[in-house]
Symmetry: C2
């Protein structure tokens, strides 16, 4: 089971820990140092991604989801590992609160993971392309936020993403960009909570 990262995933991990105590047998693959720490505290057995040949299902959260089950992730800064795990999972489920569901993606700033080497130039290129980039800072507000793989994150204030597929392609072709937070044709089921549960399935 792939284990996502973020505030909503915390509840999934807590529940999984409880189920394991009651006899459920699963092994998790973590998408971040944060999730590894929390999963361990709930006694969820973890495997290294390189030691599994298949991931049956991944449960994660998202920052924004559209009606086609496409979404934006990376608010927590773990998008690269989350995307690698998701890409490798047989099935992907997102659990979100209903405020995350939107008609069109883009109000949430799109996180993009970039190489530290030449990051100012990469940001300059993103500016020239009118992507409104902003380098994410760490808690001290002075140094760049550093991801689990020692890269930086730039948030793109786009407001409205009309063509997510094209945008993802365009972004990934910029050499300094490692990955972007657009998850397209990846997630099979979105479960949206608070009060009334709503389930959105991706049409295949």
């Amino acid at each position: 089971v792939g284990l996502g990262t973020g505030s909503t995933v915390y509840y999934t991990l807590r529940k999984l820990g409880k189920l394991i105590k009651e006899g459920l047998t699963i092994e998790g693959v973590s998408t971040s140092s944060e999730t590894t720490r929390i999963a361990k505290s709930f006694h969820i057995p973890l495997l290294n991604i390189d030691d599994v040949s298949v991931i049956d299902i991944t449960i994660d959260g998202a920052d924004e989801v559209d009606p086609d089950c496409n979404g934006i992730k990376g608010g927590g800064g773990a998008l690269l590992y989350e995307k690698i795990i998701a890409h490798f999972s047989q099935k992907n489920i997102w659990v979100v609160d209903s405020s995350k569901i939107v008609d069109t993606l883009g109000k949430f700033p799109l996180p993009v993971e970039i190489v530290p080497f030449g990051y100012r130039q990469t940001i300059q290129i993103l500016e020239e392309k009118k992507f409104n980039p902003q380098l994410r800072l760490s808690k001290d507000n002075q140094t760049p936020f550093v991801t689990d793989s020692d890269n930086y994150i730039v948030d793109l204030y786009l407001n409205r993403i009309e063509e997510p597929v094209k945008l993802a392609q365009k972004l990934n072709l910029i050499p300094g960009i490692i990955e972007n937070g657009l998850f397209i044709n990846t997630v099979d089921t979105v479960i949206s909570g608070d009060g009334q549960t709503r389930i959105i399935e991706r049409e295949l």
Copy 2:
């Protein structure tokens, strides 16, 4: 001046060092730790990429070049930084020996820089797509070769690349892949040496 990496670039650096001694004023931006070391030995002044606002010209080598000035780089493992620098340069020149010029790219295995996290899965995905991937090993032949940005390199034995633009897009959309060694619509002039000098200009 962007300074590439590789055995042919060595001669460029040596010549630049000589010209600087004779009064030429340039400042270099290095694409690798190897080039930084050699450039310093020739007393070429170096700037950090983040401290330059523009790179006028970059001189580099290549592993394979086609008649459209597209090519494959990364035999030396510096493709990511080379591609970032090239993307940011006003003009790009490659100096190669004539054996590097081919009709169709692909005989030279295409290097791809990948994230260490989940690298086995990324290689598995590349295998499923019939890209014939092989993880590059370091000199000890036991541990993976590690790039200047602490990633791994996979060489794709493709033999013949019919559609380099499409392939580059496809590869960069795989989450574990950071960059590929295809340099398309990047280089303006290719100078091929040994004996007779031949110059290929990219048609704009």
